[in-house]
């Protein structure tokens, strides 16, 4: 273990952890002797009187209730297969999407959602023995028809949101764009114009690359301001 920066300790797979560290598998595991060890690279930091583990690399595992951005990867007889940036392909049933009875003989699924479309969905059920089931029933869910979707590592999503949404606020307030960061590592950016969109995409990519450096929020604010001048959106 080594001091990375103030109050933050970098741990690597196999490093023993303080038993008080608040983390669940897959980030940690307990060996045969009862010692808690890190399973992925991460930071252990103190928050109040708690020790928390922040994974630096991560794989998205669906959890019921998660709102994620999916990419339609295939069409079945009465369902779509949705890539949700996870090891498991999700299933979206056609009845759920249309909200009415459906006849595969007369209706063409690709008319509603085609391969390559992005769709905002909510995970209904997942238990690792079957494919996750997703739904579009809910506010703001459904096909994404405008804007851009940026893909980043799922472990970097908390940084795009920031503490109490501070980073998200910088991204939206400065540019007037709408930004939705889904837990599976896809960020939907909807902007009034292309230049602003390009700036937000650049900012999100910068956050991903420099996720664990200090003073990032201020740097992103500066980056957005500078880019807005360079691209002629603001003088």
């Amino acid at each position: 273990m080594e001091q990375a920066s103030e109050g933050r300790i970098l741990v690597l797979p196999g490093d023993p952890l303080d038993p008080a560290v608040d983390a669940q598998p897959p980030y940690v595991y307990i060996d045969e002797n009862g010692v808690k060890r890190a399973a992925v690279p991460g930071f252990v930091s103190r928050r109040g009187d708690r020790l928390v583990f922040i994974g630096l690399e991560g794989i998205y595992i669906p959890k019921p209730g998660d709102v994620v951005i999916g990419l339609v990867s295939g069409i079945g007889v009465t369902n779509w297969f949705i890539d949700i940036n996870s090891p498991y392909t999700a299933v979206l049933n056609v009845q759920d999407f249309l909200g009415r009875p459906f006849n595969p003989a007369t209706d063409d699924l690709s008319r509603y959602l085609d391969v390559g479309d992005y769709v905002k969905v909510k995970v209904l059920a997942f238990d690792r023995t079957r494919s996750p089931l997703v739904t579009v029933q809910g506010q703001g869910l459904g096909k994404i028809v405008e804007g851009k979707v940026v893909e980043i590592s799922p472990a970097r999503v908390p940084r795009v949101i920031g503490r109490k949404g501070s980073m998200l606020e910088v991204l939206t307030k400065e540019t007037g764009c709408e930004v939705f960061a889904a837990v599976n590592g896809r960020v939907h950016v909807k902007c009034p114009n292309k230049e602003l969109e390009a700036i937000v995409v650049l900012a999100v990519k910068t956050i991903e690359r420099e996720a664990f450096t200090s003073g990032l929020t201020a740097r992103i604010r500066k980056l957005i301001e500078e880019e807005m001048v360079v691209r002629g959106v603001k003088s």
Binding site: Y29, R37, V40, P41, G55, L56, I61, R128, A155
Partner: protein, 243 residues
């Protein structure tokens, strides 16, 4: 490689390349070298140079392979046609298929495969330049690439080979010592857990020699895993994530 008339242990007690018997070759490690892979690493032990790439966990195209309770680990060890002095046929040889299995078994005990049932984790190990010790270098590179990909694992593993040349036990043997020596013993393991995951012995050693060779290897593996950790620390502290 044909080398005739090389004295493996010189009169001053040093080896043919000037190392002492307990010396490792110069080691260089780098992580995140490939942007398309989920995790990758390049490891060099002297002139042996091995690239490892990790993909997954993901759904493989052949679903019949999947296991209901854990992820399968698929390992391909392959030597590039240009990795040896005589061209090596790119088709997988008997030796490569066997080494793929041996390396898979060296990684399986440390990867937490139960976290991802019904998926596959793919590890590709490509030997770019071979100068002895490619399987242990491959294990070391694969371990780093798995950590880089964020695949949960119990600990990092490292590997090294111990050989016997002219009756002397020598650490981290190269191609010349391997082909002209009397014994070759590759070892891989996780020092954090005190776990040996790979142990092979080709040649003849007495019981005392074996014990001493294992101690030498274990000490070296500790140093190798420390180096792996150093490289990963550097990635998160100084360098940005290359993905």
């Amino acid at each position: 490689m044909k080398v005739e008339g090389v004295k493996l242990i010189r009169e001053d007690g040093l080896r043919h390349d000037g190392r002492r018997p307990e010396d490792l070759r110069p080691i260089r490690m780098e992580v995140g070298v490939l942007s398309n892979a989920d995790g990758s690493a390049l490891v060099e032990f002297g002139r042996t140079r091995v690239l490892a790439a990790v993909y997954g966990p993901r759904e493989p195209p052949q679903k019949f392979m999947l296991l209901p309770d854990r992820a399968i680990l698929r390992v391909r060890y392959h030597m590039a046609p240009f990795s040896t002095s005589d061209r090596k046929s790119p088709a997988p040889s008997r030796r490569e298929i066997e080494l793929s299995k041996v390396i898979r078994e060296a990684l399986e005990p440390i990867v937490l495969t139960k976290q991802f049932p019904r998926t596959a984790i793919d590890v590709f190990i490509e030997v770019l330049q071979a100068d002895g010790g490619t399987r242990t270098t491959g294990v070391t590179a694969a371990s780093l690439a798995l950590a880089d990909a964020g695949i949960p694992m119990k600990a990092l593993v490292g590997g090294v080979a111990v050989g016997k040349v002219e009756g002397v036990l020598v650490l981290d043997i190269d191609e010349v010592e391997d082909s002209m020596g009397e014994a070759d013993m590759p070892v891989a393991g996780a020092p954090d857990l005190g776990l040996i995951t790979l142990l092979q012995l080709n040649g003849v050693m007495t019981e005392e020699e074996f014990q001493k060779a294992l101690d030498m290897a274990w000490d070296a593996i500790r140093r190798i895993v420390d180096m792996e950790k150093e490289v990963l620390r550097w990635k998160y502290n100084v360098g940005g994530d290359s993905k």
